[in-house]
């Protein structure tokens, strides 16, 4: 059963999928960790991104990665609108915690139902030349449908990290949940800062969605499979830490891949919850939490 080839392939596949997990998780790390916004609808925006890539591919023959990039401004705008509703309805009144959760649950539900009505329950996939192709390095096979999402995930991670650490907006985003009134004393409008950061998180979700449909077929409720996984990553990485999110994504990807290879795929989902529980018990601030 055990062989070195199998082990190496499992590790590489895990690293590749980990890069993709980072793309899915970064937005949640930002909204939960830096903005105190419990956006549990994040996976729904990912799926919306997948279906956008699907539709553009089906009707216009667009490459999913191209669609993902082209539509980030559209999803950014959608994020602005969603944050505005959330702000006016809840945050401004100081009712963000429980009612905010209900709001995002509602958003999740609406997106899912809308996609069900529009596309039905069938799995959808895209067509692109490179999807079925792969190459080999020694005994290790590398599939383009995993490599490209990983590379894009890494690029998004690096870009977000630079944005947060090198720009005025970025530093303000990192400060906003610590003391928003003190931020106003620096001449910063905290509501604007949260709007920008939230909209960015939604834009990354849509891009992650384009990656998701590259990896495999999607159906409207597939986002649920990601909720547990994404939370495990965000908690393990230390809420709000971008490099931590990337590290945690790769760790989870590799552990899942090893589990699936050596114990069977049905065990893989249990991995994320196992990790989540252990981290919460041993180090609640996560690996990289400040």
């Amino acid at each position: 059963m055990f062989s070195l080839d199998l082990l190496l392939n499992a590790i590489v596949a895990g690293i590749l999928i980990g890069g993709f997990y980072a793309a899915v998780s970064l937005g949640i790390s930002v909204s939960f960790g830096l903005l105190d916004i419990v956006n549990i609808a994040h996976p729904a925006f990912v799926i919306l991104g997948s279906y956008t890539a699907y539709a553009m591919n089906r009707f216009f023959g667009f490459d999913p990665l191209l669609t993902g990039l082209l539509f980030t401004p559209v999803f950014y705008a959608l994020g602005v609108v969603v944050y505005r509703l959330y702000y006016l309805g809840f945050e401004r009144k100081g009712e963000e915690s429980l009612r905010g959760l209900v709001f995002f649950f509602g958003v999740l539900f609406i997106v899912e139902v809308a996609l069900l009505l529009a596309y039905g329950v069938d799995y959808r996939m895209i067509e692109a030349r490179y999807v079925g192709q792969s190459f080999h390095i020694g005994v290790v096979g590398i599939a383009f449908r995993l490599l490209l999402p990983c590379l894009v995930g890494l690029m998004v991670t690096v870009a977000l990290h630079l944005f947060l650490s090198k720009t005025f907006y970025g530093r303000a985003i990192k400060a906003v949940s610590q003391d928003s009134q003190a931020l106003r004393l620096m001449g910063v409008d905290p509501v604007k800062i949260k709007r920008i950061a939230f909209a960015l998180s939604i834009a990354t979700a849509s891009l992650a969605g384009a990656l998701l449909i590259l990896i495999g077929p999607v159906e409207p409720s597939i986002g649920r499979e990601y909720i547990g996984r994404v939370f495990a990553i965000v908690v393990l990485g230390g809420m709000g830490s971008i490099s931590g999110t990337l590290a945690a994504s790769v760790i989870l990807g590799v552990v899942e891949s090893l589990t699936a290879t050596f114990s069977g795929p049905s065990w893989a989902p249990a991995v994320s919850f196992g990790i989540l529980l252990v981290v919460l018990a041993v180090r609640p601030a996560g690996l990289f939490g400040r």
Binding site: R171, A172, K174, Q178, D179, Q181, A182, L185, M186, G187
Partner: protein, 242 residues
């Protein structure tokens, strides 16, 4: 020419009325101290100036080169952008950001961004400890270091008018004199107008040009010189326990 004028301000929190017709002013280059013991309304007045709470009546304005700019009704961000910066009570640093990140956030306003390098080196020159600790999280600094960081962060905004709310709170006496002396030094170097709320009478009068005594939300005494403050009966009663 920069002048800050507060005229006949009434303010409070809901039904709790705190300020009853307070007028103070600070002229170009002056250090004006607002003296008062706990709960007399010092911070409330400063919050009104910064637009953090709205007064129910009265006027607050700047005179910049003969032009009058009203502050009441403006957002805090606007007021900061006009060159009025506060070192808030309790420091209000961003504890999970580094010293350097805190300083850079201080320079957010457009006019400050242009001077960022110059101001950063000026801060490091005045407070070498901040340079040594620039990668340390602000929350893990000692109380005195945090107060220096709070002052330095305010200076990063290239202020014309600097408000300081009780810089001495929670500091050992030796640090109090150091922080107070630094404020004086910085004021002179940057040609600031300073309005400082304090309870520590002895320290505050060391650097003040003149001041006011606020009791129960009213200005009970205005000292046109530090000497007038020191010799005042109210001061003797409230501060010197005579």
């Amino acid at each position: 020419m920069n002048r800050l004028v507060v005229s006949d301000i009434h303010a409070g929190y809901g039904a709790v009325r705190v300020l009853h017709g307070v007028s103070v002013e600070a002229n170009q280059g002056e250090t004006v101290v607002l003296l008062g013991t706990n709960g007399n309304g010092k911070s409330t007045l400063i919050k009104c100036i910064m637009g953090l709470i709205q007064p129910s009546s009265g006027q607050i304005f700047l005179e910049v080169d003969g032009r009058r700019i009203d502050l009441v009704g403006r957002s805090t961000e606007d007021i900061v952008n006009l060159g009025v910066t506060l070192v808030p009570e309790g420091r209000r640093l961003f504890p999970k950001l580094t010293v350097e990140e805190n300083l850079l956030l201080g320079a957010y306003r457009p006019e400050a961004r242009r001077e960022i390098d110059r101001n950063l080196s000026a801060c490091f020159e005045t407070f070498p400890i901040l340079q040594q600790r620039k990668r340390q999280l602000a929350g893990s600094m000692s109380g005195g270091e945090q107060q220096m960081l709070a002052v330095a962060r305010a200076l990063m905004s290239e202020p014309k008018i600097l408000l300081v709310d009780e810089p001495s709170v929670g500091l050992a006496p030796i640090l109090v004199s150091r922080v107070i002396a630094t404020i004086k030094e910085l004021k002179e170097r940057h040609n600031l107008t300073v309005l400082m709320a304090e309870q520590n009478f002895n320290q505050a009068t060391k650097i003040a040009d003149r001041g006011y005594i606020i009791v129960h939300g009213k200005i009970e005494f205005e000292g046109r010189t530090t000497r007038e403050l020191v010799e005042n009966e109210l001061v003797k009663k409230f501060y010197l326990g005579v």
